[in-house]
Symmetry: C2
Subunit: 494 residues, 2 copies
Amino acid sequence: MSLLDAPLVVASNRGPVTFERGERGELVAHRGAGGLVTALLGALQRVDGLWVAAAISDTDREIASGPDGGRRDMEAFGSDYRIRLLDVPPDRYDGYYNRISNGVLWFVNHYLWDTVREPTFAEEAERAWQDYVAVNRIFAEALAEEAERADVPPAFLVQDYHLTLVPRFLRELRPDAFIAHFSHTAIAGLTYLRILPAEIREGMLRGMLGADVLGFHSRLWAENLLMSARSLPGVRADLARSRLVTEGREVLVRVHPISIDVAPMRAAAAGAEVAELRRTLNRWRGDQRLILRVDRLELTKNIVRGFRAYELFLHAHPEWRRRVRFLALLSPSRMDLPEYRTYGQECLAEAERVNRALGDEGWQPIEVRVRDDHLGALAAYGLYDVLLVNPIYDGMNLVAMEGPVLNRRGGVLVLSRNAGAYWRLGRHAIPVNPFDVRETARAIADALDMPREERLRRARGLSRLVLSYPPERWVRSQLEDLERARLRRTRWRR
Amino acid sequence: MSLLDAPLVVASNRGPVTFERGERGELVAHRGAGGLVTALLGALQRVDGLWVAAAISDTDREIASGPDGGRRDMEAFGSDYRIRLLDVPPDRYDGYYNRISNGVLWFVNHYLWDTVREPTFAEEAERAWQDYVAVNRIFAEALAEEAERADVPPAFLVQDYHLTLVPRFLRELRPDAFIAHFSHTAIAGLTYLRILPAEIREGMLRGMLGADVLGFHSRLWAENLLMSARSLPGVRADLARSRLVTEGREVLVRVHPISIDVAPMRAAAAGAEVAELRRTLNRWRGDQRLILRVDRLELTKNIVRGFRAYELFLHAHPEWRRRVRFLALLSPSRMDLPEYRTYGQECLAEAERVNRALGDEGWQPIEVRVRDDHLGALAAYGLYDVLLVNPIYDGMNLVAMEGPVLNRRGGVLVLSRNAGAYWRLGRHAIPVNPFDVRETARAIADALDMPREERLRRARGLSRLVLSYPPERWVRSQLEDLERARLRRTRWRR
């Protein structure tokens, strides 16, 4: 049987739903948003699939420790798939999630450290790594159990940097499993990866190499993984064919840029609530042009340099003063990490500095709104003239896709060359080096000055590109890879 | 004629000598130290070669602007070679040297930036880059003139990150020139290199690609260059054979670790002055063991984490308190860059903190001496029990070679896995991840506890390795590469 029709088992740190108790004590499921969830849920529903994730809420934990091993059929909630919530020991979660996943692996893959001073690995990192190993093992054991229960060998789709060890652990438990791992982040090159203690670096790489297929959003990330894996003893790389060979097995390294789920986003944007928000925002903006950024308050997003570029633009083009506003919609993120709190303050301080330097009574150059406001973002997408997406490094960046699909003014996308999205959308955007505020300032000016026809042509181009690659195709491509790997494995053995 | 016997022309920012005026107004030449100078001077003297460098001192500038175009025969100074000092416009020098060479290229190649905040490229960087281009052009034009004057086509050996554009500019002026470029620094991978504005990144890479041969101290740096160059339009890479093809030419990428010049260093160490310094130091140390570091006060050297590791070691092994001292000999470096001044303060503050935390009246755990003290270093090399060399990234690191050659106590080398020297010396050292202070603390403990026999065996191994590859061989290897390139070029054209 082809893996294209096999039962699917997805594993990710956070699942597609979290549960709460309703007023009468009944279970209420809150569905997460985003292309990943949509794409994978669509696929799961086709095949009565299973999604394995860590329990997040208290109610999740209650389910996870229940008699059925945390399994729940989602039929009762109107969906045709199952979930299984894993009861990660609370004393392991901080080490696994905050310290290693978000404090080490996220930092290394986005080049975030001030290397002269940070990181400094000591006992705490060693302990946290043991937590990461333990939680990854819990996931792998749960997946192995599911393989055991299945009538037909399932296809495992393991997601992201939280679960890099799962492919290897699962392979040890089930040598014949079909395993794909997908990295949604940027991936550091080999030299920077040498910052990690050998145990973590090799653990992570060899963990991923347990898969049959490794997926990435862009060629650059895939090549970095190839070059790093190839540096390990016993691993051979065929760069031209993007394959690795280790322990007598083959690992395919593939590029599949994810996309967004347009239909529900459009539906939400067409709703009354967003329409009202859009009207309010439109009044606020008046007859001024709107430069927009929508981001998590995240170290990679390069918010401070964005404000500096805008300031340079206003210096170079005083004719735009009072005729343009910069709206920054920032949602709080990882506020339990001190680096994020500091950075949040720096972003606000920089906006205030620019406002004091260039604003006056009747005109505030930058407006920063810090809150979780998905609907506000949908409203703002409709109205921008320039969308600034300038991350220093970014695995993909979905804002660069959401904006163009909802925008109604032929708005222009200014896009970092270091975002995975650049490889797909770059030709219709104005590309910038995110570290070069002068180039970014020029890009803002060029965007505002761009003739209407060119703006519309580019906006249509962006929209078309996003629509041409629906999330289902992203999942489908991965299953095709896995099927290819299965066929090669059979030949390989002969 | 083989290039092994061709006239040699070396180009580097700083030459082998600088001139001053003596008391009676006569020219006095001060020779620089180091393996590079010795190796290249030895080669130059064999073939009546020429060394082209920027004028540094006022007297240098006087010579540079003289009627003979800055040329000087060194015969009067007891050497059989010539130099040519170039009069770099003073208003270009800061941009070329401080801002681009040391402020951008050095930083990028050693991963030194706090990327969330630095660098931010704006107008100033654009201007400084023009200075860098202009000075590189001055060098290339001088080299082209020398090619013009020579009876036989010379072999050009262009040195380091200050002169990355020289190969290309020289190639444009003299398409048939034989050009080797050698990088003495670490080399960043492609993803981190994307921090640079496209003009600088591509300029630098395409500049280097003007050479026939590119040389590096380690395989890792060579591979990073290969992967980055390969990302440029019109450049093909043969990774297996370590070659690049561009504009119908071939560029060989080669690894030749430099070594130190042992004889003069040993002679100096055997002199009365060093002997006296050694006695003083020996009295100071008493019957305590000595942990030594000798470094420029340089961001890459990882001095703060070295102190932290030592502190961890003392915590884990209180039995070593009062029985060991840490001597840090630090020479000031690049004090015109604010990052270096700040880092110098941080190093001193960290040493003080450890001294306050763990020292007492009779015992100061760390002694820091900040000054240029070459002879003091030679004296200290003789006496260490542990030599700590833990740079975060380092092109090569010569301290790791000097120490073992002069040490008399079977001292142990603790060596960063990210130093170029690690690839040559690693098997006789205790390797450490420079970011892992716990591992470094353990390495210090292991070094101090190592049985005498093993210490001596390793020390002999290190010394033998250093001696087995004299600086002349380093030059010779480059000329052999260039000759190979010449032969391939002839075949290539047919």
